[in-house]
Amino acid sequence: MAEGELLIKNGVVYDPINGVNGEKKDICIRDGKVVEEVKNPKVIDAGGRVVMPGGVDIHSHIAGGKVNSGRLFRPEDGRRGLEAKTKVCRMQSGYSVPNTFATGYRYAKMGYTFVMEAAMPPLAARHTHEEIVDIPILDNAALPLIDNNWMTLDYVKSGDIDLLTAYIAWIIKATKGYGVKIVNPGGTEAWAWGKNCDLNDTVPYFDVTPAEIVKSLGEANEKFEMPHSIHVHTNMLGHPGNFGVTMATYDLVKGIKPSKDRQVLHATHTQFHSYGGTNWGDFESKADAIADYVNKNEHVTIDIGSIILGDTTTMTADGPMEYSLYQITGRKWTNHDVELETGSGITPFLYSGKSPVNTIQWAIGQELALLVKDPWKVALTTDHPNAGPFIGYPILISMLMSKKRREESAADMHSAIYDRAALPSIDREYDLYEIAIITRGMTAKALGLHEHGKGHLGVGADGDVAIYDMSPEERDAGKIQKAFLNTKYTIKGGEIVVKDGEVVATPAGKTYFVTPECDDTLTEEMLKKLKDKFEHYYSVTFNNYPVQDAYVPNPYEIKAPMRG
């Protein structure tokens, strides 16, 4: 956080949380926070350019074990992003799996100031935090994986939602995590035996179903005033015909009342879950069905996980899915099952516009954004790096804002796009206000971060501002893309970190984490079972498990009291 005052004048401001839609408006920042007025500020003349709050990414894989395994096994990706150190910046490497430094710089250049690491294996949480600390500029948080955890499975089986509540409180605290992440519930445990689970299959040896896991965690999460809902990667990712499972999963938590004014379930990288057909031959888009569900219901938000064409590195805790993908490509494949908790798989993948399947996938992500009517229910993501690297966001923004650009792109791609996807027939174009919603307003709200100064520019908000080098009237897709790739200015906590597309300062970011406050008696009872797990099945001790404070040198704690 910078000390002193900053005045940004002559900007055209898009601040959806505060209902500001393209108003010429000054922004005053003092000591890192937005204030009513300033007396003796440093002045930035935005010169009629587009001004937005710092971007908030709701779902990205930028730090931790599998991200690093992705970097480690792809030296060939590393050399696609090499940049020498400068007086300000450390060395950079990587395209789909950039090093920590490049991650911070490249996000900041796009005007982002907060990124949620979307999957943290609890047992390896220290690793995620070590990397987060090494990512310059950005504020971060991480979502621990809780759904394939034996403790969770045991409590779901016995129906002890209160004890499950005590457990998720403990594990979120122990990992310095932010909320409840669910990835292929039950399927990842099954994968430890080389198997997988559909929504109503029984998890081997545990006698519970994925559906029961989602519902129980949904209920448990709402026992606290958690800033975020459960964050769900539904079963059968990437399988033709999975859209039914996806909607059935949404339905599971429909009746649960949220503890705060937000969704009950955030469904992530929905593109991978909106597939019709029965095999890769008759594969088709079902984005319309998913969008229709989201339009008709209030308890679900989604992020799109849209494809960026080209080579990338796929990585997920969904081990069986990565295995299927590797079997298709025959390329290198890393798998890492984590005892009693989760797993992960990684394999490189090339999305080609010549492939009918990839083309339809490419259309689906954008269809979701365009068919969900209320932008407050949808977030822009590429599930970095799964559907493509985050530096592809500006491409997506330009696509959503320009039907012409979509048409031009579709013309170069496989003709399946005209038969088995809806994209070519959609006329909608996003405006800048809507872009601001799906890249900061909605994401901050869905994560509950708007109450902590993120995603908006109201008085008291963090002084995180992006000034894009474009006028609000700009319609040229190429120029829009360019503007969103490299800001004129990015300001983080009142400090100019990017100027004219170059990183000029690299302050350390903060780590956001949630402390759910659970009843002591419940916790005591839960701990008996947990300690038994450590005694007999974990390979580390109970006392060495929780993430020590040393791993979070710049903490931002959010307390989540139990619901009264």
């Binding site: 096994f73 792809r74 030296p75 060939e76 990706d77 590393g78 050399r79 025959g330 390329r331 290198k332």
Partner: protein, 261 residues
């Protein structure tokens, strides 16, 4: 025609440490149109510092050239720690007199390099076109891929007068390699295109190959146990056994052809 003579100064290699000089900036296509003074000012890396070419090399330019095709670079002196000779070269000619260091002819797309001596590891790495002639021995990873890539050499022609080190032609996808001597362990590893001819002996050739062709005219030591004998074959009047492999990559993918005597 133009000849650019670059002779490495003796003092560059006279210290306790023999710090490599990296000359990827000195190819005919990059030097064409430059006069002697300008060439002397071209930067080359020597350890962690960039130096002027003229500081490290005696530079002499003879003749004129209208295009890179008309440029011939002759490198002399102790070149055994001069790396990246002809790396990325597009056209013209380089003649290196003596043993050269790693990455000679790496990524080259055109032109011709002649090494009058041995070439260290990664000669012709990821080569796409042109011709590389190594009159002596080649080190390991001749014409191979860069770490992690699935494609090595894709085009061009490489001739090794002597022996080649381990993993010659790894992940090769196209082009031709002729090794007049022996090939060490695992020539043609992961090969999926192109042709390797080994006039001498080879050890475990063709492992994990899925396409392309390897012919070994000498002895094969440690034949891979996962190749299937197909038929007898005659090449240039000589009897060979033709094997198909590598079945360890599954039968569906095993389309590599290995000729042994």
């Amino acid at each position: 025609m133009q000849t650019i003579r670059l002779k490495l100064k003796e003092e560059v290699m006279s210290g306790n440490a023999r710090i490599p000089v990296e000359v990827d900036s000195l190819t005919p296509d990059k030097l064409v149109g430059k006069n002697e003074a300008e060439i002397k000012a071209v930067k080359v890396w020597w350890g962690n510092k960039e130096e002027n070419t003229g500081e490290l090399f005696d530079v002499r330019v003879e003749g004129e050239a209208g295009s890179a095709e008309e440029v011939k670079i002759v490198m002399e002196g102790d070149l055994s720690r001069v790396k990246h000779i002809g790396d990325g070269m597009k056209a013209g000619e380089i003649e290196a007199i003596g043993d050269v260091d790693m990455h000679c002819g790496a990524m080259m797309t055109g032109g011709k390099i002649t090494v009058k001596g041995n070439a260290d590891c990664w000669a012709g790495r990821e080569m796409k076109g042109g011709e590389l002639i190594i009159e002596g021995d080649a080190g390991a990873n001749l014409c191979a891929m860069y770490r992690g890539e699935m494609t090595g050499m894709t085009g061009g022609k490489v001739t090794v007068g002597g022996n080649a080190g381990e993993c010659a032609g790894q992940y090769m996808a196209g082009g031709e390699i002729l090794i007049k001597g022996n090939a060490e362990l695992l020539a043609g590893l992961n090969m999926h295109g192109g042709k390797i001819t080994i006039e001498g002996d080879a050890v475990m050739p063709g492992a994990d190959m899925t396409s392309g062709e390897i012919a070994v005219k000498g002895k094969v030591q440690d034949m891979m146990p996962s190749f299937k004998f197909a038929e007898a074959a005659t090449i240039e009047g000589e009897e060979y056994k033709k094997y198909i492999g590598d079945l360890a990559m599954t039968e569906k993918k095993a389309k590599g052809v290995l000729y042994v005597k």
